[in-house]
C-alpha cells in the first residue's frame, strides 16, 4: 500500500480514516430505523442539542424520544461492545501469540452462558439480574481457568492456560446445557441470548457497560507496546526485562472485564474479536501499537453497521446480531485476505 518504512507508527491518516468510518456508521445507525423519521429532521434534532445551535427539527416529542432514547443508546452500545470485543481479541492474540485467539478463549462465553441461563430459568429473561448473572459467570469461568492453568503450568504457561480454558469452557457448557434441558420452556429465550442481541436497550445498558469498557480499553491501549514485546515469546520477553506472566495477567484481567461486561449486555456476539484485529493487521502490519487502537475504532464501526443490518434487513423483526456479524464478517474477511495475498499486506 505504501513504501516500506522501518518503523510503522499509528499514522494520522489511518486514525482519520477509521474515525470517519466510525462517524459514518454512527450516523447511519442514527438515521435509519424501524420508524421512518426523515434524515433531515433527525440531523436537525441532533444539531439542536449542540451548544450554541438552535434548530427546530419539527419532530414530535415522541419522535424525538425515538432518536434520543432508542436509537442513540443502541448505536452507542453497539460501538462500545464492538470496540471492547475487538480490543480484547487483538490483545488475546498478542498475549497468547495465537492468531485464532478470540475474547472467548478462556471460557468467558461458556461462563456467561451458564450465568445467563441460570438467571433466565430462575427469574425470566426480562429480569435485570440476567446481565449480572452473565457477568459473574464469565468472570468465574476465567478465574477458574487461571487457577487451573496457573497451578499446573508454573510461571510461563500460555499454552497451559489455553488448554485449561478449553476444559473450563467444556464444563460450563455442559452445565449450561443441563440446566437448559431441565427447563425446556425457556429454550427460546436462552437461545436468543446466546445469538447476541441489542434489542432491549436504553441508556441503562450503556451506563452498565461504559465503566468496564472504559477501564478495559484504557488498560489494553496502554499495554500495546508490551504486546509487541510478548510477540518474541515468554522466555525472550523475560530476557528483555519484562515479566511475561504479569503482563499476561493484567491483559487477561482487563480483556475479561470488558468482554464479560459486553457479553452481559449483548449476549454472545461472535466474530468481531477475531475478524476486526485480523483485518487491521492485514491492512497496516503486525505491530500491536497500531493494531489495538485501530481495532477499537474498527470494531466499534463494524458492530454499529452489523446492528443496523440486524434491525433493518428483516424489519420489523430482528435478525440475531451474531448471525449478521458472521454473515457480513466472513465474506469481508475473505476479501481482505485475498487482497493481502496479492501483496499490499504486511
Amino acid at each position: 500500500m505504501t513504501a516500506p518504512r522501518p518503523l510503522r507508527r499509528l499514522s494520522p491518516l489511518a486514525v482519520g480514516v477509521a474515525l470517519v468510518l466510525l462517524l459514518g456508521a454512527l450516523l447511519a445507525g442514527l438515521l435509519v430505523g424501524a420508524v421512518g423519521l426523515s434524515p433531515g429532521a433527525v440531523l436537525a434534532e441532533v444539531a439542536d442539542r449542540l451548544p450554541f445551535v438552535s434548530v427546530d427539527s419539527g419532530l414530535s416529542e415522541q419522535e424525538a424520544a425515538i432518536v434520543w432514547d432508542l436509537r442513540l443508546p443502541r448505536v452507542v452500545l453497539a460501538a462500545l461492545v464492538g470496540a471492547t470485543l475487538a480490543a480484547a481479541g487483538a490483545s488475546y492474540q498478542g498475549v497468547f501469540r495465537n492468531p485464532l485467539a478470540d475474547p472467548y478463549l478462556l471460557g468467558v462465553a461458556a461462563g456467561a452462558g451458564l450465568g445467563a441461563t441460570i438467571g433466565i430459568v430462575t427469574l425470566g429473561s426480562a429480569s435485570a439480574v440476567v446481565p449480572a448473572a452473565a457477568f459473574a459467570g464469565a468472570l468465574a469461568a476465567v478465574a477458574l481457568t487461571y487457577a487451573l492453568g496457573g497451578a499446573t503450568g508454573g510461571g510461563r504457561a500460555g499454552t497451559t492456560l489455553v488448554l485449561a480454558g478449553v476444559a473450563v469452557a467444556a464444563f460450563f457448557t455442559a452445565a449450561q446445557t443441563f440446566v437448559q434441558q431441565r427447563h425446556a420452556d425457556t429454550v427460546r429465550e436462552v437461545y436468543s441470548w446466546i445469538l447476541g442481541r441489542l434489542s432491549t436497550v436504553g441508556w441503562s445498558e450503556v451506563a452498565l457497560l461504559a465503566p468496564y469498557a472504559g477501564v478495559s480499553l484504557m488498560v489494553l491501549l496502554l499495554h500495546r507496546r508490551l504486546l509487541d514485546v510478548m510477540a518474541v515469546g515468554e522466555e525472550e520477553a523475560e530476557t528483555l526485562g519484562v515479566s511475561a506472566s504479569r503482563v499476561r495477567l493484567v491483559v487477561v484481567a482487563a480483556a475479561t472485564l470488558g468482554t464479560a461486561a459486553a457479553v452481559a449486555v449483548s449476549g454472545l456476539v461472535g466474530f468481531v474479536g477475531i475478524v476486526v484485529p485480523h483485518a487491521v493487521r492485514l491492512m497496516v502490519g503486525s505491530s500491536y501499537r497500531v493494531i489495538v487502537p485501530l481495532s477499537v475504532l474498527g470494531g466499534a464501526a463494524f458492530l454499529v453497521l452489523a446492528d443496523l443490518g440486524a434491525r433493518t434487513l428483516a424489519a420489523p423483526s430482528e435478525v440475531p446480531l451474531g448471525v449478521i456479524t458472521a454473515f457480513v464478517g466472513a465474506p469481508f474477511f475473505a476479501v481482505v485476505l485475498r487482497s493481502a495475498r496479492r501483496g499490499w499486506g504486511p
Binding site: L7, E236, L240, G241, V242, P346
Partner: protein, 258 residues
C-alpha cells in the same frame, strides 16, 4: 564495563539436576565458550545467567547480584540471544531491534527518539542497516542472526550471552557472525559467554573454553588445554584429531573409524 561472575550455580527441572555447583568468571572484554556434549548443561547455564530459570547460587555483574535487582535492571546489563529466537514474521527488522530498548523504558512508557536512534545504530553496527524496513519473515538465515544480534546490542549490555549463535548457518555466515561478536567485544569491552557446538570455531574465537559435562565444569582454560583427543573421546564420545592451521590455529577434525 564489568564482567559476570557466577558462584555455585545449580539448575533443576522438576527435581532433575541439569546444572550443579558451577563457578564461572568472565571479566569485561573476555570471550568464554561453553563446550560439551548435548545435554551437558550449556543452555541451562546460559539461562541461569540470563535469569530466565530459577537457579541456586549467585550470579553478579559489577558486584551486584541478580537477586537484588529487578528483572528490568538485570536486562540492562545482560543481553541474551536464544538458540532459536522467535521472529514475528510481520515485524520489520527495525521494529524488532527496537524491542531491545525495552529494559531502558518504564513499564508503560513509549520509546523516545533516542531509543530509535540507538536501535538503528545497532542495526548499522551489525551491517544490517539496509534491512531496517524488511519484514523479518523475508530475511535469510545470516540476515536474521545479524538482526537478532542487533536487538541484543540495542540493549546496550555489559554481558552478551549467546546460545549456539552459528547453528544452521553456512560456514561463511558462521564466521561473519562470530567476527561481528568479536568486534563488539574488542570495541566495547563486552563480556561474551557463548555456547558453541563447533570446537574449531570455539578454539579460534574464545579466549577461554569451559567444558561442561553432566551439569558440572569438567575442564576450563585455553583451548589447547581443554581440547585433547582423549578428553573429547571421553566426554563427547568423539573421534577427532587436533591439527594446526597455517598460522598455528587449532583445528578439530573429525575422523572415521579405521
Amino acid at each position: 564495563m564489568s564482567g559476570i561472575i557466577a558462584r555455585g550455580v545449580g539448575v533443576r527441572y522438576d527435581g532433575r539436576v541439569a546444572l550443579e555447583g558451577v563457578d564461572l568468571e568472565v571479566p569485561a572484554g573476555e570471550w568464554a565458550a561453553l563446550v560439551g556434549p548435548n545435554g551437558a548443561g550449556k543452555s541451562s547455564l546460559l539461562r541461569a545467567l540470563a535469569g530466565t530459570v530459577p537457579s541456586s547460587g549467585t550470579v553478579a555483574v559489577g558486584g551486584r547480584s541478580r537477586h537484588e535487582m529487578s528483572r528490568r535492571r538485570w536486562a540492562r546489563l545482560v543481553a541474551a540471544v536464544a538458540q532459536h529466537p522467535v521472529l514475528p514474521a510481520g515485524l520489520t527488522a527495525a521494529e524488532y531491534v527496537l524491542l531491545g530498548r525495552t529494559p531502558h523504558l518504564g513499564y508503560l512508557a513509549a520509546e523516545s527518539r533516542r531509543d530509535v536512534v540507538a536501535a538503528l545504530a545497532a542495526l548499522e553496527r551489525l551491517d544490517a542497516g539496509a534491512l531496517a524496513s524488511r519484514p523479518l519473515g523475508s530475511l535469510s538465515g545470516g540476515e536474521r542472526q545479524r538482526v537478532v544480534l542487533a536487538r541484543a546490542l540495542a540493549q546496550d549490555p555489559e554481558v552478551l550471552l549467546l546460545d549456539e549463535p552459528t547453528a544452521s548457518l553456512d560456514i561463511g555466515h558462521q564466521q561473519q557472525v562470530l567476527d561481528l561478536v568479536e568486534g563488539l567485544r574488542r570495541e566495547r569491552g563486552i563480556a561474551v559467554v557463548a555456547a558453541l557446538h563447533d570446537l574449531t570455531l570455539a578454539a579460534q574465537y574464545a579466549g577461554r573454553l569451559v567444558l561442561l559435562d553432566r551439569g558440572r565444569v569438567a575442564a576450563e582454560g585455553p583451548a589447547t588445554a581443554v581440547l585433547t583427543p582423549e578428553g573429547l573421546a571421553h566426554f563427547s564420545g568423539a573421534r577427532v584429531a587436533l591439527l594446526r592451521g597455517p598460522d598455528g590455529e587449532l583445528v578439530v577434525a573429525p575422523r572415521r573409524p579405521a
